[in-house]
């Protein structure tokens, strides 16, 4: 049997696409470093990474939906839903630890419902999560009557502001999430089945993998990490804002795509998704320091995503 000589041209572009996020991150950091002395400072990079942590956790959740060839649009509402649950329960006098668990569990419930509709009722992922985006957002607004709830907890404050020496808690949470997701995807049976279902659901079914259950689990995992991100958001903001988080939604998908995961499923890159999250946050952070209008920021983020999609075209 002859050795397969891969087509050289597309091979190089595929390689380029795999390293799009780290490469772009270096370029963006150098550009901002040249543009302003305030970007590449220890304190700014520290804050930038803290801001990236929430998006990174969210993107890691999105990664689960994307790896089974799906998408989770509901995170835009699931994130404030977790925050609102934490706010409501904490204000009602529920002990903080329990309130955090309830918030995360609430997000898991949203994920399980999504996963049931997509996996068992075979509804289109895009429509299902678009629908639950709207439903969950409405429920959140009903729960909070549209008001931001202040959550004054020294514990949450400490998580957002402190750390072990220079290492901030938020980084560690994101790092722990990344390691766990990596381990799950690449070192466990469940992860193999997630990749298999995303890579070819017929073949997966043919080998006896419970495809429906695997899909459900993927959306549940997305919900779980969304809940964790929601708690982090409350810690960082000192309160629960019930409004829809479309920026976080788009950025979470963008981070995964930038990271080199295939939207057609079956390919995942945990390092890529985290790098993608840092890259997108860096753009916003740098623009803010330089004083470029935030309207340009959304354009830049969108342009980067389109560029990543273009690169992904050549990966096939």
């Amino acid at each position: 049997m002859t050795a397969t000589a891969a087509r050289p041209r597309s091979f190089d572009l595929a390689r380029a696409a795999d390293y799009a996020a780290p490469g772009a991150l270096v370029v963006v950091w150098i550009a901002f470093f040249i543009a302003t002395p305030h970007f590449l400072t220890l304190s700014n990079i520290g804050d930038l990474l803290v801001a990236s942590s929430i998006l990174a956790v969210l993107a890691l959740g999105q990664q689960f939906a994307v790896v089974v060839a799906g998408i989770d649009l509901s995170v835009g509402a699931n994130l404030p839903w977790a925050a609102a649950l934490l706010g409501a329960t904490a204000t009602a006098g529920v002990p903080l630890g329990l309130a955090i668990l309830i918030a995360i569990a609430g997000s898991v419930v949203v994920g399980v419902v999504n996963g049931f509709l997509v996996g068992y009722l075979k509804m289109t992922d895009f429509i299902v999560t678009l629908g639950s985006l709207s439903v969950v957002s409405g429920i959140t607004l009903l729960l909070t009557e549209g008001n931001t709830v202040a959550v004054s907890s020294p514990f949450l404050q400490a998580i957002a502001l402190d750390g072990i020496g220079p290492v901030r808690w938020f980084w560690l949470i994101a790092l722990a999430a990344a390691v766990l997701v990596w381990f799950t995807l690449f070192r466990t049976r469940a992860g193999t089945h997630l990749l298999a279902v995303g890579g070819g659901s017929d073949a997966a079914l043919g080998s006896g993998i419970p495809v429906r259950r695997v899909r459900l689990a993927a959306y549940a995992a997305s919900g779980l990490l969304c809940g964790v991100a929601g708690v982090m958001l409350v810690a960082r903001n000192g309160g629960a804002d019930p409004s829809l988080q479309t920026n976080y939604l788009l950025s979470s998908i963008a981070a995964v795509v930038l990271g080199g995961s295939s939207l057609f499923g079956g390919k995942a890159s945990v390092v890529g998704s985290v790098t993608g999250a840092v890259l997108l946050t860096s753009l916003v952070n740098g623009f803010t320091i330089i004083g470029i209008s935030q309207y340009f920021q959304t354009i830049a983020v969108g342009a980067v995503v389109l560029l990543a999609a273009l690169l992904a075209r050549f990966r096939k």
């Binding site: 193999t192 070819g200 073949a203 080998s207 006896g208 993998i209």
Partner: protein, 253 residues
């Protein structure tokens, strides 16, 4: 071969209707243990339907399946798998973005003795994958490469290797070389012959009569949903097979 032959799996008066169409119309045929049996027949003769009955995809409408002489009901593909019946489908059922070893152990992953977590024993699966492919003389650059980067023949060989590894009793191949070039076909045929030498029971569907003559021990001819002949390959010629398939020669099965 006579009717005294020990059949591994046997179909008796099998009928499978799809609405008004009788895809299988009282088919009776046996597949002997340790042999390569080829099923030949024109389009619509019922080859694929028979395979789907044997793999539990389509339970038959009427009739009986016997496995080692015992009547069985194959209500699902899992039921067939539990009996050690594995199938290599035309689309191969491989996951392109997973490595060769992951495909070989798909849904049969070896785990480390850690409770609940399902932690993969990667070194062991990689090692055993090398042994499996090496034992079958299947050459791949590395079992850690993704299947996407394999040639058509390599993919076919991997799919067959997987079926052989888990198919303790019977390996069914549906047109295993239909999509392959000459050299790759030769390699896959060599693999099938080595399976025969190892005593694996193989059932192969093929349109290529010369291939049937090369790799099979016995050939079963289907026509209009019935088995019209069962002959040792040594006793038939290509012309005679064509006659049996088209119906210009008829004789009792």
């Amino acid at each position: 071969m006579t009717s005294e032959t020990k059949y591994l799996i046997e179909a008796r008066d099998l009928v499978k209707s799809f609405d008004a169409v009788r895809a299988l119309d009282g088919l009776t045929a046996g597949f002997a243990e340790g042999e390569v049996t080829a099923i030949v027949g024109d389009n619509g003769a019922g080859k694929s339907t028979l395979v789907r009955c044997l793999t539990g995809v389509h339970p038959p409408t009427e009739g009986q399946l016997l496995f080692r002489g015992e009547p069985i009901r194959l209500s699902s593909p899992q039921a067939a798998r539990d009996l050690g019946i594995e199938t290599v489908y035309q689309d191969l059922g491989l996951i392109d973005d997973l490595a060769v070893w992951q495909n070989l152990f798909l849904n049969r992953e070896l785990l480390r003795p850690v409770p609940l977590l399902g932690v993969l024993d990667r070194p062991r699966m990689i090692r055993e994958s090398r042994d499996i492919l090496g034992g079958l003389d299947v050459n791949v650059p590395s079992v850690r490469t993704t299947v996407r980067r394999m040639s058509g023949g390599q993919r076919q060989s991997i799919a067959i290797a997987r079926a052989v590894t888990w198919g303790r009793s019977l390996v069914i191949m549906d047109e295993p070389t239909a999509a392959l070039g000459v050299r790759e076909t030769a390699a896959v045929e060599k693999l099938i012959l080595s399976l025969r030498d190892r005593g694996v029971t193989v059932l192969i569907i093929s349109h290529d009569l010369e291939q049937v003559m090369r790799v099979a021990d016995t050939v079963v001819v289907l026509r209009r949903g019935r088995a019209v002949a069962r002959r040792p390959v040594a006793d038939v010629t290509g012309d005679r097979l064509v006659g049996l398939i088209t119906g210009t020669i008829s004789e009792a099965a």
